[in-house]
Every structure is written in structure tokens, then in C-alpha cells.
Symmetry: C2
Subunit: 351 residues, 2 copies
């Protein structure tokens, strides 16, 4: 299996990737949602451009450095950074980035907004800012519609900024709660005289229920491009929809019921997402990857594993996004055909 | 705190690092153990050379690509690769590596040994091979002293190879079991006429109990150079011995009892090592990092966190080795003084 490739390697099947992109674009088109893919899953400009050419309105990045990497090749012109940007170093880079693309950001606190305003007060055009709302995931975000309205007012009256809308990264399965929060915040803000141009929701777990939040105008989504074991386990996709797999070699088979592969946490990562085990061995659901160290993955099975030293297997990881952060490049394939090496320009970008 | 540094950044305190290196070298000297540090924790040639100049006999790498990165600057001449090397691509690189340094490897199966033999049959000097033994960690390794003796005999009679000794990566706390396994294997092998020149044990959790395995001649250890929360929780070190910290900024404080920092799993990783939470906030033991997403760390506290947006904190991660794999460089410091940026040449090396 892919004998010419060394292992461990991360394979991206472009047939599956293209199918995933088109299928969800159609869903968004049907439901009158603008699609703004999050590049954190692939971290590759060429795949972002595939998403854009299929109908996406722009991309989402989490960090400025990701956005910088994504525009390095040209062809990407609209970026939303869904992160509170703080501190002089980052604000300076944000200002430079805004000269190159249609940039918008989110914010959930006054400290952040004041820094943005000071930075963009002298800019030729104001920076569009969305208010991040916590609709249940208890991460960032203002915790009430009233607080969203207050922050929107602050954005509206500070120099260098323009209020653009609302954004949430919802916890899975909370369609009604999200709708109520965002609808209420939108009402309060519009009642105070500002337009809410964009209401941006997102998340792969609820991707097929995005229509349950009719107030949303935009959907941000990352993992759908490749899919992974966590989404398969939630019924969001099937194994055949998983474009990212890890090719690994059995390096040891010390007992009949245990084998060791050369993919450990340095490739698969320790992300569990509530699952048991560290990935799904394609075609061999009886095998369990029960333990990882950095360079070893341990496979166990109640019946003999049947694995032999030198054998190759393919694994669907628990979480695709974090796997593409572990290596400098992936291998693009179509079925059994190898297309070539693809660098991951936005890997390791945390600033 | 380190206002000139952007966050998240990984800081390495060289005063603490040097102290850790010297302290454990002295322990090994006292206990007649040769020290062979595993570079997987720091992945930096300069720190390996610090370990060597303090008395280490050589270094340990897990992958050929790590060894290649470690010798790129010169000054490192003795490397043990503690991994079954398989397949033509890796074997070719192994052969080239053996021309440049005193190289030895481990193996736990005949398939692996036959590949090594075929590769080194025409080499100017034989490749030293240690038999990897599973003394209780249930990862790689032959599972009985008798199997170790059989594999040692096979190494001894195959062209291109020379049997060097025994190696184990023990489970924590199994001193007596390791001693019995290795002593028995050594007896069987020597009884059959081969010398066991090296008996290599290792692991940071039992670093201060290495003397409980008197059959061992060598100790391999990685994490001790920086230490981390997992070792502190086992009583192996104190917080003041932790050389690696993550500098992070509070980017959101949505409620009194919750704050969000800009260090998520892309820096801290999801490694738990049986611990609750994702790191220790230095000086604030009441704060718990209870949840990570890629770019967000969530801090909660039963009483108000006291954290404000823009505030900086330092975190001792659960597992130091995996953190240095996430970024291209670390910041070297001594106390509050910044020494400069240090690239991590052996980051991301999985081949």
C-alpha cells in the first residue's frame, strides 16, 4: 500500500476533499447561508482556493500568522480572524494585513476593542468588527445579548472601527439556544440604530443542522473538508467521506494481540474528543489503537490482530485539524494514485 | 512579564536546564551508570552538547531524522536509535548515518534484524544492535528473557551486525521486575557465548531509583532536562526545577470564574499523562486549565480568577517533550533575562 511512500505519512485524498467541499457548499446554497471555511483544518492556500472557487465567500483564520500564510500565494481576498487580537506586535501586523485583504475580526471585550480602535484610527478604511457571543460553549464571547449590544455600541462609536455583526462558536446541539441568543442580540443592536450585516455561526458537528439557526447569515466550518473519526462517530459523515488518513507501518508485533505502529502522538496527537482510542484503522474495525507515545502507536485486539511487521495500515485520526499541524507536508492522492507532496504553509502558526 | 515577547511563546530557562543536567549526571556518576540522554525533550543540538560536555556518553534518538538533525552542526559522535528500523528508504539513510557517527540501534524482531543485516553486510564495520526487551510497559520489546537470547543469537550470526546488549523502556515503578528480566536475559546470552556490553534502561519517572536496577550499565532519559508537571506530580522534581514554561496572554475574561488564554493544544498539546487539566499556572495553583481547543486555553477557578485581559501568565505543561514539537523555536532565558531565539532543528522529525 503506497510502497513508494515512507511512513508515517499523512495522505489527503483530493477526490474525497473535493466532494466534501462541493456537498456542503450545496447545502449552504440551499439554506441561504454564506460559507466561510476555517482553514485550520487544511492550512493550505490551494485548498482554500478550491473552497472559494466552489462558492465560499471568504475564509476564516484563528491567528494573524495563519492569515499571513494563506495570502502568501495570492488569490485570497477576504479573511475573518475569529480571535481577540491584543498587544502592539499583533496589532501592527493586523494593520498591515488589512492593507492587503478585506479583513474583519471579532472581539468580546472593551480592552480588545480599544486596542483595535487605536491601531485603525489612522487607517484609510475602518476595520469591521463582529462581537463574539458565547451561546453555550463557555469559551470566549459575551455571555448575554445585552452585553453584545453594549459592545456593539462601543465599536460603533470608536474611531477606526465599524460594527459588522455577531459571531458565535456554538457548542454542539444547541440550535434553539443559539437562535434565541443571536436573535435577541440582533434586535437590541438594530433597535439602537446599527445594522447587523452578518450573523456568523459554525462548527462541523452541527453542519447538517445549520438551518436550525435561521438568524445566521454565514457558516464557518473547518473539519468538513477532510472529516475525521470524531465526526464519523457523531453520524456527520461516513468513513468513505474521510479524506485525511495516516499511513503507518507495523514495526513490532510482540504478541498475537498487540502490535506497534510508527505513528504516535507526534502524528495522531492525543486529542480524544470524548472517544476511546486514538483513531480508526480503515477496514479493520476490530483493531483498537489504545495507547500512544510520541513515536509509537499501540494496537490491541481481543482476537489476534493478524498484523505482521512491515505491514502498512491507514488510520482515520480522531481529529483531522490537529494532525495537519504536526508535519510540514502532506501527500495528496486520488484513490491509490499519488499526486505528490503538498507543503502546509500555515502549520504551527500560533501568533 | 517578558513584555518584548509575543505570546504564546515557549521559554527555556538555561540556569534551570544546566542545573538539571549536572544534578542527574552526578547521580549517574555516583551510581556507576552511563548517561545517554534522549534528545526528544529538547530536540536542540546545543543542549545535547551541554549534556555531553557534562559527562553523557552519547545521545538517544527515536528516529533517523532526529539523529540527522542532531549531527547537522557537528560535535555529536555517538547515537543510539531506540527504534526498529524497517524498509528500504530508512535502511539506506541508516547506513549513511553509520558512516558519520558511532551508531547503534535496537531491534525486537527477526524481520527488523534481517533488514539491518542485509543493509550492513557490505559495510566497513558491523552495526551494533541491542535487543529491546519488554519488562512491563507492553509497547515494543521481546516478552521473555528466552526470546531475548534467541534474538541475540540471531544478531550474532548474521553478517553486518554485532550484538551489543539489552535495552528496555520500562514502565514506571517496576525496578525489581526489570532487574530480574534483564539479569536473566544477560545470563542466557552470556551462557551462549556472547558478551552483553550494555544494559540500557531509562525513563524520567524512576530517575532517582535507577540504582534499583543494578544490572543496568546505562540510563536513557529525556524529560529530566526540562522537567514538567507530570514529573512534579510524581514527586520527581519541584516547580523550581521546571525549565520549560509557556508564556501566554489572557485574551478574554468573560466571567469572574473563567478566563481564556492564547495557548491551546497547538502549544500545550492534549497529553494528560493521567493528570486532570492541561498545565500548572506558576504561582497560581488555584487556577485550573480545564479545557483546550487549538488556540484557546480555558482557565477556571472556584473563586474569582483575578485574571484580566492582557495579563500574562506562565504555565508548566503536563509534558515537556511534546511541547517542543509544536513550535519551530523556543526562547532561551536566564531568570528574567532573555538570551534569544533558539531554533528546534529536530522538531517534527517522524521518519
Amino acid at each position: 500500500m503506497f510502497a513508494e511512500l515512507d511512513t508515517p505519512s499523512v495522505l489527503i485524498d483530493m477526490d474525497i476533499t473535493e466532494n466534501n467541499v462541493i456537498k456542503y457548499q450545496k447545502y449552504c446554497d440551499r439554506n441561504n447561508l454564506e460559507l466561510r471555511p476555517h482553514i485550520k483544518t487544511h492550512k493550505i492556500p490551494a485548498i482554500a482556493k478550491l473552497q472559494l472557487s466552489s462558492g465560499a465567500v471568504g475564509i476564516t483564520c484563528q491567528k494573524i500568522s495563519e492569515a499571513e500564510a494563506m495570502i502568501s500565494e495570492g488569490g485570497i481576498e477576504d479573511i475573518l480572524i475569529t480571535y481577540n487580537i491584543l498587544g502592539p506586535a499583533k496589532l501592527l501586523r493586523l494593520r498591515k494585513l488589512a492593507d492587503k485583504v478585506n479583513l474583519s475580526v471579532v472581539a468580546d471585550n472593551s480592552e480588545c476593542i480599544r486596542g483595535l480602535s487605536e491601531t485603525f484610527a489612522t487607517a484609510s478604511r475602518p476595520l469591521p468588527v463582529l462581537v463574539e457571543c458565547d451561546t453555550g460553549s463557555e469559551r470566549c464571547g459575551v455571555t448575554s445579548p445585552e452585553a453584545a449590544a453594549v459592545l456593539a455600541a462601543e465599536i460603533g462609536c470608536l474611531p477606526g472601527l465599524t460594527f459588522k455583526g455577531l459571531m458565535t462558536y456554538p457548542a454542539a446541539g444547541q440550535g434553539k439556544k443559539i437562535q434565541e441568543f443571536l436573535e435577541s442580540a440582533k434586535f437590541l443592536i438594530e433597535d439602537a440604530g446599527q445594522s447587523v450585516l452578518v450573523v456568523s455561526s459554525g462548527g462541523s458537528p452541527d453542519m447538517w443542522k445549520a438551518d436550525m439557526v435561521p438568524v445566521a447569515t454565514e457558516y464557518r466550518i473547518g473539519t468538513y473538508v477532510y472529516n475525521d473519526r470524531s465526526l464519523q462517530s457523531r453520524g456527520v459523515c461516513g468513513w468513505a467521506d474521510c479524506a485525511l488518513t495516516v499511513l503507518a507501518t507495523v514495526v513490532s508485533a510482540p504478541t498475537k494481540n498487540r502490535a506497534i505502529i510508527d505513528a504516535g502522538s507526534k502524528v495522531l496527537t492525543s486529542d480524544l474528543f470524548g472517544l476511546t482510542g486514538h483513531g480508526h484503522v480503515l477496514g479493520q474495525p476490530d483493531l483498537k489503537i489504545d495507547n500512544l507515545s510520541e513515536e509509537h502507536g499501540r494496537i490491541i485486539s481481543e482476537s489476534p490482530t493478524g498484523l505482521f511487521v512491515g505491514q502498512r495500515i491507514r488510520i482515520v485520526p480522531n481529529h483531522a485539524c490537529v494532525v495537519t499541524n504536526m508535519l510540514d507536508s502532506v501527500i495528496l492522492v486520488r484513490g491509490k494514485k499519488i499526486l505528490g507532496l503538498q507543503k502546509i504553509p500555515a502549520r504551527g502558526k500560533v501568533w
